[in-house]
């Protein structure tokens, strides 16, 4: 594997389609079933020491994206680059290196740790796999870092003897014990109580800063994502529709969907009148949905041109932001590339 100064983890036009279950009759008739387009051309780049959020509603493909990034799913199309190297070309040694450097934290603290193992054994496992010595010392260190004090108190406990917050700290400890470069976090606080949630969020953002880790943080909850992420990607039906630095996205969302999502978050203030969402309907199933803007059926600003897939382009005033919406670009200027050829979705991004 060669080192390179670019993003530590990057996807280029990543696609992950799933087959629907095929019946015997379909096979006999040679009928091709429509694919489930769970992740549909996602390009994001995570720089070192950066934390990016991917937010979207359930079914938008964010968990599939995470699992594909982790190498649990084979991408259908597109590339995943780890430090500039394509994971498709990885050999055994490269994978081991990848596994050491990319770790994951899951949503459900009560199911993230093997119920049959003590905390010590859970934390020991990654170290053993990667033949790292001074195991005991490291385990104590990491438990202190995730503020489980004194560590000795927790070492021989089983998951069932601990609270959700404590378990989530152990999950974080397990993810960090190999000193990885990237953490993938799948809604790590959504199942915790508010009082615990805040401490886990704080811990996570502190540790990410201190330990020079980059993080992809996946969530449906904008209000928590904004506390940990520098940048937010809004995902809708398999595609990233907007990407912007956190504060800019919250203050001035460009894509109608981002707008709707932000407007729908309740505000803990009885005097603040936010108004309820005007969106109707529900997210479609991502099955054989063809071209066009994924959001068009629910979009308040729908135009005829939305039948074409919008390109993911820089927002004019600000080259740190990107949006995939026909409202934001001059069409004649882009017609050359804007026609919706299957092969050529979102060409600007792959060129980046």
């Amino acid at each position: 594997m060669t080192e390179n100064a670019g993003p530590v983890l990057e996807t280029q036009n990543l696609e992950k389609y799933f087959d629907q279950s095929t019946s015997i009759i379909d096979t006999l008739l040679r009928r091709e079933n429509e694919k489930v387009q769970a992740v549909d051309g996602v390009s994001i780049a995570l720089d070192s020491n950066e934390s990016q959020g991917v937010i979207g509603e359930s079914g938008c493909g964010k968990t599939t994206l995470l699992k594909t990034l982790m190498g649990l799913y084979q991408p259908t199309n597109g590339k995943i680059l780890f430090k500039g190297n394509d994971t498709a070309e990885f050999g055994r040694k490269d994978w081991k290196e990848f596994r050491r450097n990319v770790q994951i934290i899951f949503q459900d603290p009560f199911d993230s740790l093997d119920p049959k193992l003590t905390i010590r054994e859970t934390l020991e496992e990654p170290l053993k796999i990667h033949n790292i010595s001074n195991v005991d010392e490291r385990i104590v260190d990491i438990l202190e870092q995730v503020e489980l004090n004194p560590p000795e108190k927790y070492l021989d406990r089983f998951p069932r003897q601990m609270s959700g917050g404590e378990l989530q700290r152990v999950s974080i400890a397990r993810a960090l014990i190999l000193e990885p470069e990237v953490i993938l976090a799948d809604e790590p606080v959504s199942m915790l109580d508010v009082s615990t949630q805040a401490s886990i969020l704080n811990l996570l953002s502190e540790l990410v800063d201190e330990l020079d880790v980059s993080m992809f943080y996946i969530s449906h909850d904008l209000s928590t994502v904004s506390y940990v992420c520098d940048r937010i990607n809004v995902m809708y039906l398999g595609r990233i529709v907007e990407s912007a630095p956190t504060s800019e996205l919250l203050e001035d969302p460009q894509h109608p969907y981002s707008q709707a999502l932000i407007d729908a978050v309740p505000i803990p203030d009885p005097k603040y009148n936010r108004g309820y969402t005007t969106l109707e309907g529900d997210v479609q199933n991502p099955v054989g949905i063809g071209d066009g803007c994924r959001f068009r059926d629910r979009c308040p600003d729908r135009m005829d041109v939305c039948e074409q897939t919008p390109k993911f382009i820089d927002v004019e005033s600000d080259d740190d932001r990107k949006v995939a919406c026909h409202l934001y670009y001059d069409h004649p200027q882009h017609t050359e590339t804007a026609h919706t050829d299957e092969e050529q979705q979102e060409p600007e991004v792959s060129a980046q």
Partner: protein, 308 residues
């Protein structure tokens, strides 16, 4: 790679991990009254299997004489608590001797069933894909085989014998275990703690041995104990049909001899005790399996959860 897998089996792992789980489940069993009763009964039968022959007042195959005459079909008396059979053998002694082959049948049959069933089920469930398909189709085929006729055919092929009759049982009865364990594994392998382990780079072997197997262990215990029961039951059936060695005095063979002698109804002391022993033992294995699964399957935290 190989070294890594071997290290799974190293002393520390075996000592502390396996021992801990075994001790833990024993403690669980003893806490629950019903489970403890069934478990103690099984331990008692095991004890008979081990020491029965030593406790027996007479050798099992000795023909007893009283005043130069064979003591045929004597009803229970102080000297012979369960009487004698038609060739003058002491039934109580035969019953004690018979515990051993019966227990061997149960343990051997049960182990075969669970080991084949678990290997097939876990492999199919965890590896998935084509392997899964192939293994499950084989299981389906085995499902289609009628047990008793097949056993009779196989035993006549391998020759009539005690071990053969057990092997036949083991070769067929794993099918149910394989199916259920496979579906268990299918659920477990998608759970986050397995994915986290994968993400850390754990090998397949490590995941299976360290995470999957311990988590299906309660179910495996249930199936092992059901397997013991079924093996005893079916071996008794085979014995009754005459497709096992008549010279090894298992309880099934005793019932058959009683039947063959034509004294089934008169000499109740001959047919009833082995029949009851079979029934109780099989029942105990079934009930033990069920109650163990119940207590191991859920913690006592349920009431606390409800309070929310």
């Amino acid at each position: 790679m190989v070294k890594n897998n071997l290290s799974l089996m190293d002393n520390r792992f075996a000592n502390n991990y396996v021992v801990r789980n075994v001790v833990g489940s024993l403690r669980l069993m003893l806490e629950d009254k019903a489970t403890m009763v069934y478990f103690s009964y099984l331990v008692f039968v095991l004890f008979l299997g081990a020491f029965g022959p030593m406790l027996a007042p007479y050798p099992y195959d000795e023909t007893l004489y009283v005043n130069g005459e064979i003591l045929r079909s004597a009803p229970p008396s102080l000297a012979h608590p369960l009487g004698t059979n038609n060739i003058g053998q002491d039934i109580f002694s035969r019953l004690l001797y018979g515990a051993r082959p019966t227990m061997i049948t149960g343990l051997l049959g049960g182990s075969m069933i669970i080991s084949i069933g678990m290997t097939v089920g876990v492999t199919a469930g965890y590896v998935g894909g084509r392997v899964d398909n192939t293994l499950m189709r084989i299981t389906d085929v085995v499902y289609g085989v009628p047990l008793i006729p097949f056993a009779i055919v196989l035993v006549s092929l391998f020759g009539i014998g005690f071990v053969q009759s057990i092997v036949v049982i083991g070769l067929l009865l794993w099918r149910g275990n394989a199916r259920v364990l496979r579906s268990q594994v299918l659920q477990i392998r998608e759970r986050p703690f397995i994915l986290a382990s994968k993400a850390a780079g754990a090998s397949r072997t490590r995941i299976v041995f360290k995470h999957v197997l311990p988590n299906i262990a309660p179910m495996a215990v249930l199936f092992f104990s059901l397997g013991i029961g079924f093996s005893i039951l079916i071996q008794a059936t085979l014995a009754f049909l005459g497709v096992t060695s008549p010279f090894i005095p298992s309880w099934g063979v005793m019932v058959r001899s009683a039947y063959n002698s034509g004294l089934m109804s008169q000499a109740w002391w001959w047919s009833l005790p082995p029949g009851l022993m079979i029934a109780f033992t099989v029942l105990a294995t079934f009930m033990f399996g069920r109650s163990y699964e119940n207590i191991a399957g859920q913690g006592n935290e349920e009431a606390f959860v409800q309070a929310g």
